[in-house]
Subunit: 451 residues, 2 copies
Amino acid sequence: MIEALVKSLPEGRVLTDPDVVDSYARDRTFLEPGKALGVVLATSRDDVVTTMRWATEHRVPVVPRGAGTGLAGAATASEGSIVLSLARMTAIRELSPADEIAVVEPGVITADLDRAAREHGLMYAPDPSSYEISTIGGNLATNAGGLRCVKYGVTRDSALGLEVVLADGRILNTGRRTVKGVTGYDLTGLFVGSEGTLGIITSATVRLRRAPIAPPATIAAEFGSLRDAAAAVSAIIAAGCQPSLMELLDRATLKAIDDWRNIGLEDSTNAMLIGQSDASDGQAMAALMRELCEANGASFVAVSSTPEETEDLIGIRRMAYEAKERLGACLVEDVCVPRSALPDMISAVEAAAARHEVMICTVAHAGDGNLHPVFIFEHGTPEPPARVWAAADEVFKAALELGGTLTGEHGVGLLKRRWLGLESGPVVTEVQQGIKRVFDPLGILNPGKAI
Amino acid sequence: MIEALVKSLPEGRVLTDPDVVDSYARDRTFLEPGKALGVVLATSRDDVVTTMRWATEHRVPVVPRGAGTGLAGAATASEGSIVLSLARMTAIRELSPADEIAVVEPGVITADLDRAAREHGLMYAPDPSSYEISTIGGNLATNAGGLRCVKYGVTRDSALGLEVVLADGRILNTGRRTVKGVTGYDLTGLFVGSEGTLGIITSATVRLRRAPIAPPATIAAEFGSLRDAAAAVSAIIAAGCQPSLMELLDRATLKAIDDWRNIGLEDSTNAMLIGQSDASDGQAMAALMRELCEANGASFVAVSSTPEETEDLIGIRRMAYEAKERLGACLVEDVCVPRSALPDMISAVEAAAARHEVMICTVAHAGDGNLHPVFIFEHGTPEPPARVWAAADEVFKAALELGGTLTGEHGVGLLKRRWLGLESGPVVTEVQQGIKRVFDPLGILNPGKAI
């Protein structure tokens, strides 16, 4: 069956060696993939069309992937599937400073687009932590967030139009090149975050923004309690500081970083808040943020005055994930709550950790109410032990009770489907399945994911 | 048939007097409605559920409406339909300053929500010109834009979650109360702009933003040519001024205003650009905008230093539509092009006006590339004469050729459906009809509109 596909694509596009295929079958979760038939390394829209026509003809499931940096199993290969890699479609086809847009292929590395834009005084705002290794296509498929989205919004907010290859190989063009437009339904928004279950994105028109003129001003504040730090976040937002970054790290995370890199963590420090302003009056905003941290009980506030100092402060946040990986295997979670519920959500995470004797380190995109509790378990364990799932279950339910959501930016993939019904309810599920059938009547597009 | 509906709703909810019904059958276009069976004045979600169950049972088309201020005929009643007015559902159910959200019923007047938010230092950003008389529900149904959307985005960018009554009376809850969230498909975005063809919005959770701290700084610049003014717009955007408003008025519009209110229009003035910054360093940004206007050939630039002067400058823009209505009946159009194409689009409008001997007055949300060419024809004419349609046809085609769209913020309704195929193409049309069938298999929700 796969022979027909190999023959219809240019030489070298299809990989079938089992070990190689297996290396394209996983994302960054612990999830064990099914055995895929092969991998297509698409280099053009035509390759994708050919693959989808073949898949439709033979009823073969297709699992699209970018760089495989996902944290929810959306790119985990399913049994008997073809993995369709878009990572080789790396052209920035157009970058228009006058219109502040770029037209890109899905395999472009996110930070590469940002760098290309900065040559023209622009930026590509969405910056998931993985942005040096993840692709625009993957970011679109998962509606990736990031550090800057507290000011600039998520990936969907930067997507203007898409070229999509549908399940049967037809081409669908959604959206437009203009910043506004209301002809018909918002198909662009529908595809962003659909995790490859509705079609394969082969090109995207994205919005660029003016890069800040001044270097950003950054503060790092230490607190005796997480609740005080959360109160400082509320005060900073309420004062209209419009931070371009607002990250919260708990003691467990700081301890992991300190044990690794010795950042001089004080015994009395139980939380650190890192805030940044990239506005033209950023220094004044940083001074105001410092004041508000002190008024809310910060024991110490560092303010950067040079780019190097800024890098040092942000560097602490960047070390968080690696520091945790030194402690054990990680289940990275992603709940999001209304900002006012941040202190209660933090308490709920702490309670779950204590009750189930699980180590949980939490970092949060605090300005968005988006927390990443990372559940640590023994290295080499094939999947999280029962007590980790029990703690995670509690954390998810607490987020929903607080008016929040199961996933702020990582997506549902395979990992969250177990809990999805708790958030979505039967009417949403039915409607989503109906939409899925419109685009994918045979059910071959990344089956079993997202909805 | 309608008797069953009258009986199943509380007394006084259904109007059937033909004259009264006719007064609920139109929007702000010239379009002649069909004869509707009656009007339901819903005051609660239950009224909407009852109406939709009845409509499903009897296969009666339902035309939802807010304040009827639409400019594309989306709320024009069709023959044999029931008009479902949401204008009496006016509760602001919740306004949370801490979470910067509000939960509102669809009949809330947009400016009322903005005022309620401002009592807490917040604002509701989307501000269509009609915002003192149009409703949130209508704004959501059309994905309304406005003056401030150059900085704050359109209605969809402020919509977090919706409660929707489906065609068969079931309740669908989309989205969430959090600023981020990626569970499942973006149903909220799908409903925003769907013009009542997918369901009836009975509640919306919307995002509020911090209201600017300083009073806005405003400039008004006069130019000898529209092209110079358009060049100034590009320079202002490229310099990172981030205007909160950037409006362009052509000579025909200025002349209409001057004839009515005597604004001292100079013979040499062929365009006026009004720019505003609401940033904390707004005065500096206004000074920079002034400089850039002068560098691009402005003959005169006024800068406001008091709220009264600001009101005077913005007042000129606000007079535009009324001034035009004094000249004749108006066909208000709404093309949007990439910002760099603004000068070419303006030339295309002027060429169409000359070729077809039609008076066209143009105002533009210039920062977004969104133009409103208003075609003037004789008062009392039941619909635009052929030469107006011929000129409009040319304008639409020019917008599409320049990489633009038929409608930036008014919607498709009935008015633009004739041209829709030119922009959307057959695959988009088929996919949209498929989505429509998922939500409305009997085709009773505002049939013949939007897609």
